[in-house]
């Protein structure tokens, strides 16, 4: 682990994320707190990831519902809301995956999730305290 990225604090963070989102195909990046699921940092177009907004997916609908309730009051927070919902879904997904791993072997630990769909790929790096999610378009197969 080099200090390179630690050098300039927030600047370095922006730089690293910026470079990540400049990579071909990358649409968005998101950093969450692993414990609470709170969004710490976003970059890119979170909105473009969820194509079907009104009909929330069945599983996270409940949780996302309680979530969407909050920013409802905020007028200009529709984008936040999108990010929040996405975060909730991803967070639940990671939690489920994590519990699967734990059920298989308690000593084991989730290290990387690559969720490949027909249209895009979510690469998720879970850490003890944080989650980094990067969404990128996959080349047409």
């Amino acid at each position: 682990m080099s200090e390179s990225a630690l050098g300039a604090g927030p600047d370095a963070l922006e730089e690293t994320l910026g470079r990540l989102s400049k990579k071909p195909g990358v649409t968005a990046a998101l950093i969450l707190d692993r414990a609470t699921g709170a969004i710490l940092k976003t970059s890119g177009q979170i909105d473009s990831i969820r194509k079907n907004k009104p009909s929330a997916a069945p599983l996270p609908a409940q949780t996302a519902g309680s979530l969407t309730g909050e920013p409802d009051g905020d007028d200009g927070a529709s984008q936040d809301q999108g990010a929040d919902e996405l975060a909730a879904m991803i967070w639940n997904f990671v939690a489920t995956a994590g519990s699967l791993v734990e059920d298989l072997d308690t000593e084991d630990e989730l290290k990387l999730l690559r969720l490949r769909t027909k249209k895009q790929e979510l690469v998720i790096v879970p850490d003890a305290k944080y989650l980094l999610i990067v969404v990128h378009d996959t080349p047409p197969a």
Partner: protein, 694 residues
């Protein structure tokens, strides 16, 4: 039986663990209750009757509509996003006190004294109407069950599982103390379910305790809590967070850089991607002697305006290579010298960056320890970095006193796994030997001087090379163009230092590199040496065995101390200054060189001694300077496979190439290749120097 016993033991251990957890929890809970009463009292006005059906109703309503709660908080949030949502939520979610004590706990303290809060408090009772009643109700219930439960039940504390289990938890655990008997049967069932959940939870908390890190319990709900700007900022600025970003983005970049698509379905379409690829890529040579550019390494932040001063592949991980850099004159606050370790699968960002306070002129992986990197600096320091440590060197030699006071351009680690030394050589002719454990003082020092007949004493080494077999003998290339053999220790017929009896004269300008043949084959070619020089040539030498030099000294017979001059076997005259030349680690007749015009040339002396068999120039960077930026300084082969090589130069880019099967790779090595090199050497020796100008 054995297995059974093991199970019993495991269960016992678990039980003990449960107890321990409970105690721990109890102590936490007692601490917690001190914080929560205010909130509880807020909710107590709502009437709660100890009626089971009513509880069910409440539960149902809670399960179905968690929304009202968050809505109400949402209403407040537009007012200001300061620390307010915290207090609201934490007050609202009383039923999950424990949860807050973990996640929002710290914010309690902040939220309450905040001056602009009263409004929030007033609304809290309204928002908590749904959530709170269960808890007072259950308080009433829970006593009667105390007999059964107090002993083997941990106090109700869950980091909120699914809302259902949460409720069950709340319903049963608190009633556990005061519930009337008719409810008992029902409760047993719930209890069973709960037991499982709690065990699960205990496992989670165990991790929590052991790691000291919070891990989400598997079934936990997503928390609808937005962090305040300050909290987010604090978290983002923490070193831990930066560390995480650093690590995780590397992983992701590698994942994204992975070019091969494992999901490619070849039955679907027949894309002729490969042909395009061939045409577009930067390719030199033809057919089996092809050279293809495969990657370029450049980091916007660290490579900018620096020059590559050396390149070395990791002997352990063949996807890693290091490059050392000189200073960036436009960034006085950045460290002068850096070493970057590049990963083949990560192109625009180094795996590691190491710093030094002075330009790094040479760096090398330790062949005996995959984590260690040694370097020589312009200040005369020898530095040691560890990839497990941070970017600063873990050890360095002192600036003053013993050691080097002039720039160290050449460094090497010689010896064996158990006994190895760092040998460094500075431009004033000082050679030092160091142990890896202690760089405060050299283990051995030696000063190289010109052998006697010379008019002046000073010898300025520019490069140094050790043969494969002998760690006590080495060659140094000098600024005046001669290559001198040197001994580290006194030996029969020769004193430590420059061997006065032999010198390899041929170059007319400073020697930029000397390289011994790696010679891992049926015929020993270890005495072949390749040297490159600013006199626009590369020369091939046959070096005399260090011990035998006195026996066969031809020259002026009978005169002791007379110098015998050895002339090169082969002379490869080029069209520009040659900065570096290196033998292929696997192919006996193949070597590569880089020149001042920016060309990488591959030669195979078994095929052709007048012309390179392939040449290529790294593709220029898009935003790079166009003038005077092409020159290449260094070349290095990947030692294990011998298929890839890397070059670097004045524009700070490290470019990696892959060679065709006739120039590298271990697949089709033939013994004839060694013998044909040997034959070539013998023929030249017999016939005399071919084409050498000396």
């Amino acid at each position: 039986m054995e297995q059974r016993r093991g199970e019993i033991l495991a269960k016992k251990a678990k039980l003990a663990e449960l107890k321990r957890q409970r105690e721990l929890r109890a102590s936490q809970a007692s601490g917690r209750t001190s914080a929560s009463p205010s909130e509880l009292s807020l909710s107590s006005p709502t009437p709660g009757r100890p009626n089971r059906s009513e509880i069910e109703d409440l539960i149902n309503s809670l399960v179905r509509e968690p929304r009202p709660i968050s809505v109400s908080t949402g209403i407040q949030s537009p007012g200001g996003r300061g620390s307010r949502p915290n207090s609201v939520l934490s007050a609202g979610d009383i039923s999950t006190i424990d949860y807050h004590s973990e996640f929002a706990g710290p914010s309690h303290g902040q939220a309450h004294p905040a001056p602009s809060q009263p409004q929030v408090y007033s609304t809290v009772p309204l928002t908590t109407v749904y959530e709170c009643p269960p808890s007072p109700v259950k308080e009433v219930f829970s006593y009667s069950k105390g007999v059964q439960t107090t002993d083997d039940w941990p106090p109700p504390r869950r980091s909120r599982a699914t809302s259902d289990s949460d409720l069950e938890d709340a319903v049963t655990s608190t009633p556990g103390k005061r519930m009337s008997r008719r409810e008992r049967d029902r409760e047993e069932e719930l209890r069973e379910k709960l037991r499982k959940e709690i065990e699960e939870e205990l496992r989670a908390t165990k991790e929590l305790v052991t790691d000291g890190v919070l891990k989400p319990t598997p079934a936990t709900n997503f928390l609808a809590r937005t962090l305040t700007a300050e909290e987010t900022k604090a978290m983002i600025q923490s070193e831990e967070f930066m560390d995480f970003v650093d690590r995780s983005t590397k992983v992701i970049e590698k994942a994204l850089d992975q070019e091969y698509d494992i999901l490619t379905d070849y039955t679907l379409q027949a894309h002729d991607v490969d042909d395009e690829d061939e045409a577009n890529g930067n390719v030199g040579g033809k057919g089996r002697r092809k050279v293809k550019e495969v990657a370029q390494f450049y980091d916007e932040r660290w490579s900018k305006k620096r020059m590559v001063s050396s390149i070395d592949f990791s002997p352990k991980f063949n996807e890693l290579l290091l490059a050392s850099y000189t200073k960036n004159p436009t960034a006085p606050h950045d460290p002068d010298g850096i070493v970057q370790v590049w990963n083949m699968h990560l192109h625009d960002r180094p795996e590691f960056v190491f710093h030094a306070q002075s330009d790094i002129l040479t760096a090398k992986f330790s062949p005996f320890h995959p984590n260690l990197i040694i370097g020589g600096a312009y200040s005369g320091q020898v530095l040691l970095w560890d990839t497990r440590a941070r970017s600063a060197p873990v050890q360095k030699t002192p600036l003053t006193g013993s050691g080097h006071t002039h720039p160290v351009y050449c460094i090497d680690i010689v010896g064996t796994q158990n006994a190895n030394n760092i040998i460094s050589c500075s431009t004033d002719g000082a050679v030092c030997g160091w142990t890896v454990d202690m760089l405060s003082q050299p283990q051995e020092t030696m000063s190289l001087t010109m052998p006697l007949p010379s008019k002046y004493e000073d010898l300025s080494p520019t490069c140094m090379a050790f043969p494969q077999a002998d760690p006590t003998f080495f060659l140094v290339g000098s600024e005046e163009g001669t290559i001198f053999p040197c001994h580290r220790y006194d030996r029969a017929g020769a004193k430590a230092g420059v061997d006065a009896r032999v010198s390899y004269k041929g170059h007319a300008a400073p020697v930029m590199s000397v390289d011994f043949h790696p010679s891992r084959g049926p015929v020993d070619l270890g005495d072949l040496v390749l040297s490159s020089s600013l006199d626009w040539s590369v020369k091939l030498w046959k070096v005399r065995a260090p011990a035998a030099t006195s026996a066969i000294a031809p020259g002026l017979l009978g005169l002791p101390g007379a110098e015998s001059q050895v002339t090169p076997l082969l002379d490869f005259v080029r069209e520009d200054v040659v900065y570096d030349a290196a033998w292929s680690p696997v192919k006996p007749g193949v070597f590569s060189l880089v020149d001042g015009a920016g060309w990488l040339e591959l030669w195979d002396i078994t095929v052709e001694t007048e012309e390179p068999v392939a040449r290529i120039s790294p593709s220029p960077r898009k935003d790079g300077r166009t003038m005077l930026s092409k020159s290449l300084n260094k070349i290095a082969w990947e030692p294990l496979e011998g298929k890839r090589l890397a070059t670097g130069g004045i524009d700070g880019t490290v470019t990696m190439f892959e060679v065709g099967p006739d120039l590298g790779g271990k697949e089709n090595l033939k013994n004839e290749e060694w013998t044909s090199v040997k034959k070539l050497v013998n023929r030249i020796e017999a016939v005399g120097v071919n084409g050498a100008t000396a």
